[in-house]
Symmetry: C2
Subunit: 395 residues, 2 copies
């Protein structure tokens, strides 16, 4: 079935998370994505614990809907083969150390010669330019230098990384946004370009109003647990059997809240009669909220407050999340059949497109699964050439 | 100068963060974005503390490069005017409660009739479908129900929200990805569609391998501060004058690390001679690391370890971030001149496109700044009609 990006071919010279995730977003919307892996070993995330029946779950999580071909880009012959592929492709995604693709004679300036419309998207820790561009990147470094960790965690605790590799995901998402913008431009002009995405840049891009607040008002955003500066109560609270979050974001909602928790007199209390008053008295506001929540189960809190139009939700672990009826209705934890790892579930596809929905059509591929299809079928290499390249470890 | 999305017109019936952020990403790449606001009050984020010379910094942070027009979509006349705009636009972004645009007779099925190529992107807390679609969303609820908070924070602490509204940003980013995918499809087929983005879906989409780990192996990802399961040391450490993060992701790097901290004998220690051994002895590994870090300044740690090829970085507050030479070289905290708030700095544009870079051409607009340009210039309303609509508060 035709999808939004059907007809687009993407070469993915990527490994691990940020680069593969960008490719996967393109694949989910129908692009043909060739995940290029080293012969023999492949993308190292295949080997990272934990393994599910021998296949790394990191690889499983970020590589559905793709084809796998093996190719050693470090060899001159491998580089020539890559150029053969570029001739018939639209997009290259790569996440090597900046300068590596140039060193391999397949940098943007090389590829542009053979295919002026090629869009090359590079995803790296620090970007293709700037004094730190040669530093290795890790998600924790992007979160730290990007200002996010300073603001995350308890007020009396230390800077905390998010529970997922948000730096990698933001890098992948911004790379995708840049790639698709460049694709639109290419479609109307025929011209490709180099898209330079960086994990550090991507974290800085989601700092909300932190930078203008500092420059304009001298305010430095500090850690405050789950609170936010402008609203109270807005936090995690412990019910009898788990945590909930509650956010009372207006006077209207505060009124409904105090009514439903049986404290209507608080509606007239000057300590709590405006957002700023509640923020000023946040400790008291949270004490009142926590007292009520402690006497209820998560389900009771969520049910009662939702009924009353007070914004709240359960803090889900993965066990609860995948069983939630709304998550199921939204198909956000769909089941797939993986040839090695068996029946699995993955994070689903979002957003939902009405005419050309993204779908999971194939599981993450085995290493080199599509070598014949691509090298013999697409590039028309002879059987002899194919076997020879395999024997010499080029593919 | 021509940009990647030049020629595209976007109507943004959005307020606050997720929707405006999606519009802003399109504006940064050159789309003409009309931010539609209620006459008189405008986007409420203009009024949220903190204010910089009277303008809300939330609004300042998410609305550069846009035009502002006022329009009351709750009125039948306003709805007709909106349809006049849709006729000459490519994309509508909206973040109203699901069903609201339909109630206002400007839902996707209505707009499709007047402009079959229109792409309507809806951003909401829970999506257009599913049992919770009518619930109000807040960032903290998406982070909680999306499984992220359960995994974020200290092991002996409570589930923690990220320091920024990552749910809103992920909603905006996935909305952008879906919009641009639909735009590519429309460009080749003429057909628009409805793009349904949800904050909750977007958080679930970045859970890495959490879902397959649970379903395939029964592993539930718990909070572990800044650690990650597969690598040690990988954490925040306290230097003499601030925090740093260090990630020793391989045996090679461990060898360089123990050499440079003057503990070469640890290279032969079986407790530390593989990633899994180091993870098993993480307390000891961290103690060794912390001992060394405590004796150094942040600058010394970063300098020594980078020199030795050990991945690390300073934990920046916003004050330090905007002064970093690499951040400056990447233009990730650029200065703008705001007519009311004065000289400010914002989060910069990423990724960097080589041929058609995104640029900040205009500051966030004043309320209704572009009413004349759009209503009289673009829609060709007469002076009388324009004045009349203003007088009656429709625009």
């Amino acid at each position: 079935m035709e999808k939004a990006l059907s007809g687009i071919r993407v070469l993915g010279a990527t490994r691990m998370l940020a680069g593969p995730y960008c490719e996967m977003l393109l694949a989910d919307m129908g692009a043909e994505v060739l995940h290029i892996e080293l012969p023999g070993r492949g993308d190292e995330s295949r080997h990272f614990a934990p393994l599910i029946n021998g296949e790394g779950s990191c690889f499983i999580a970020s590589n559905r809907n793709k084809k796998s071909i093996t190719l050693d880009l470090r060899t001159p012959e491998g580089q020539e083969i890559f150029k053969d592929l570029v001739r018939v492709s639209d997009i290259v995604v790569e996440n090597n150390r900046p300068g590596t693709m140039d060193k391999w004679n397949v940098g943007y300036k090389d590829l542009k010669e053979i295919n002026p419309g090629i869009i090359m998207t590079s995803v790296s820790g620090f970007g293709q330019t700037g004094p730190y561009s040669q530093r290795a990147g890790l998600d924790i470094v992007a979160q730290a230098m990007g200002g996010l960790m300073f603001m995350t965690g308890e007020a009396d605790g230390s800077p905390t990384r998010t529970g997922n590799a948000i730096g990698d995901f933001l890098g992948g998402l911004f790379a995708t946004y840049g790639t698709l913008s460049a694709l639109y431009y290419k479609q109307r002009t025929g011209k490709g370009q180099h898209v330079d995405a960086a994990l550090l840049d991507s974290v800085i891009a989601v700092l909300e109003n932190v930078i203008p607040n500092y420059v304009g008002l001298g305010k430095v955003t500090e850690r405050m647990g789950s609170r936010i500066p402008g609203i109270a109560p807005y936090n995690t609270f412990l019910a009898k059997d788990g945590y909930v979050v509650i956010g009372v974001s207006s006077n209207q909602i505060w009124k409904r809240f105090v009514d439903v928790i049986g404290r209507p007199e608080l509606n007239d209390d000057p300590r709590f009669n405006s957002p700023s008053a509640r923020v000023e008295n946040v400790e008291e506001v949270e004490k009142i909220t926590q007292e009520w929540v402690s006497q209820k189960t998560v389900e009771e809190v969520v049910s009662i407050l939702n009924e009353a139009g007070v914004i709240c939700g359960p803090v889900y672990s993965v066990e609860q999340l995948i069983e939630d009826p709304h998550v199921k209705a939204r198909d956000m934890a769909p089941e797939i059949e993986h040839p090695v790892a068996g029946k699995l579930r993955l994070s689903g596809i979002t957003p939902k497109l009405s005419l050309t929905p993204g779908t999971i059509d194939s599981p993450p591929p085995a290493l080199g699964d599509h070598n014949e299809e691509i090298y013999k079928g697409l590039l028309k290499y002879s059987d002899e050439k194919f076997k020879d390249l395999q024997n010499r470890g080029i593919i």
